[in-house]
Symmetry: none
């Protein structure tokens, strides 16, 4: 029996192609922009090149994003800023020890951000942030502060439960963030070390750093004396 799909198959592909295109455009542009921003940096990426890589003309890019800066912000939200809601939920739902939570946190960060192109955005902000203050502020608001906030809540949970010593939380945040930042920079710097890839096992490195941090967090500050 002929299903409606049979008929639809005849007509829809045409429309479907168009409509899918329309809805896919922003995504394609964001993907192309992510690629190029990570590859060349913000200033050196030309709007026309982003459009070309997404398979559209220069004008089309500005149909979806009013300026290159807004395009960049959208890339940041798409790949980093917009995902904290989900990550915060994971935090709320986590039921294990806080040490495990921190290990899990650093591991999935690597899988979802660190090893992906998205990590290039952080390196980009470190390189060009001073040249584009508005982007820097946006990045701080959308990524840095939520990230610090999440870590702060994790650490606070550990302290509240008596799992961690009552350390200086701000300082501890840096201890956690530092290896992540280092990995992002390392990964995107094929300059100093020709085979940066092979010379460092990121997951092992991260695991080691996690244990180091946890060692410092769990040790009773008074007990050392």
């Amino acid at each position: 029996m002929p299903t409606p799909r049979f008929f639809a198959d005849k007509i829809c592909p045409v429309r479907a192609k168009r409509e899918r295109r329309k809805e896919a455009r922003p995504g394609e542009l964001l993907a192309a922009a992510l690629d190029l921003f990570v590859e060349k940096g913000f200033a050196a990426t030309r709007a026309e090149e982003v459009a070309a890589r997404a398979g559209v003309s220069k004008g089309t890019l500005f149909l979806y994003f009013p300026s290159k800066e807004e395009l960049f912000k959208a890339v940041v939200v798409e790949n980093l800023g917009g995902r904290f809601a989900e990550w915060n939920d994971e935090f709320e739902a986590f039921e294990g020890t806080t040490a495990d939570m921190l290990r899990y946190c650093m591991r999935v960060w690597w899988e979802r951000v660190g090893m992906t192109k998205a990590s290039g955005l952080t390196k980009l902000m470190m390189s060009e942030g001073t040249n584009f203050p508005e982007l820097a502020e946006f990045y701080r608001k959308e990524v840095v502060r939520p990230g610090h906030s999440l870590l702060r809540r994790i650490l606070q949970r550990g302290i509240d439960r008596g799992e961690f010593a009552p350390v200086d939380i701000d300082h501890a945040i840096y201890a956690v963030v530092a290896p992540m930042v280092f990995l992002m920079l390392w990964k995107h710097s094929a300059m100093v070390c020709v085979d940066a890839e092979t010379s460092l096992d990121p997951e092992k490195y991260l695991a080691t750093q996690a244990e180091t941090v946890l060692y410092g967090l769990t040790r009773q500050p008074g007990a050392a004396a």
Copy 2:
């Protein structure tokens, strides 16, 4: 025995004065360029601004350096590449243990490079290297390879003397370089961590990393089992 310098000092005082001034110009330009390159990056630094900071006109800059790229290369040679001769000599003259040599090496690197503006050049190359392949290659030739070469000779000395285990030298080089690179990136990235300065004691960090590396180098590979 009269050196050629004695003779030159006598008959060309006028010329000497002139040449000193003439020779001072490039130095002022190089200093201004270093400042600005480190502050804003290569692409974002305008030639005119370099000239202005050096107190000369835009044309004068191009009188001494035929292009912005050549200016950058000169900055690299002045601050990094040109100093390996001296560092190599220090290596040859060093008489202590190789472990001390490595400790010394990392410490003075921090004093002479890491904590100075020159470290910004490395971060710059990591950020913009892909956009300026010729500069990247130059940097590799003038800085990366000599640096690796020096470390390689140090490590080889340790192995040859039986102080170090016969490790994979390339891998060991990265183990030494990594913390240095990390410090340079950290220092020049005011983005993720608002107070990068206060959250990490570079010298302590470096000393710790040195001991970690040395621990791996001195441990008998077979003895671990």
Copy 3:
């Protein structure tokens, strides 16, 4: 005898509704275009904005008018050029003195054109005519020449009837037109005089100017001596 309209009204109510809507579209577009052209000028008015104000999409605008220039021409015909037929008929039907005809002419011009948005079109042509020669020529053909022609016939009637002295008609036309043009410019120029509106009573001004012109027309040229 049944007219075609009778037939059409009966069997095509659906079509009629459709056609009325279809026929209403250009009118809405013309109204929106008039508003915006008068407000911002020809070049500064964006096609998309006209469409948006008429409640249709950009594409629809170009369905009815093949270009922005043609749209403008249609606006000119709708508001100025297409009305001369009626005005000429009024002239033919007028039965009073030619002086009264001229007074009437200037008064109703103010009511029907001068005080309406349509007067902005004249100001627009004065401002942008040199940038759009084809529009300028069109405006001359559709508005200026018919207007001058009508005035010429009025003046000729006065002379033929012995009501006016046999003046130089071209010169007299300018005498009549000048105050009208002045009022249009004045009305649409909020720049020099902040309260252009309140500082001049257009109808009184026009009446005065009419009398001045008529005084010149009726006075026997020889009698002045």
Copy 4:
């Protein structure tokens, strides 16, 4: 006897040409800009065309004026705004009757502004002022307000001396300004009247209007009843 000029003639022309050029550039650019702004309006005048008419390249224009808007402002100051100081001085120095002062004022205005290209700037502001609010405000501050201010002082002098009736000065200002504005618009509008030039004698028109205004100013307001 050979004068120094003989020698100078050999060397200076080269330098002179250069230096004269440098100093002449802004003037040449302002002249070209005035021409084109008056001819085509602000928006329709392309920066490159201004440069070309001044005999320089596009980049050179921006060496002297940081933006097209600033170029326009400079044109306004050069041709209108910057001359009020001199005009104010003439007012202070004038020793005749205030009626003569007003007549003189309108006459020299025509010679120095009205009949020159500068009058096109006023027409331009009337046409495009709403599209460029910052330019409009600048023009108001630099031209409209000083102009009104000067007229206000003239009228006040007449009233203070008992030459004029104590009229509403704001209203009187418009009565004086209106014919000037009209002439500027008329002059730059070759649209409605093909031969605007020949159809109106500006000086005679202005003189007539001056007398009309003066008639209103000198008539005792109470005496009319």
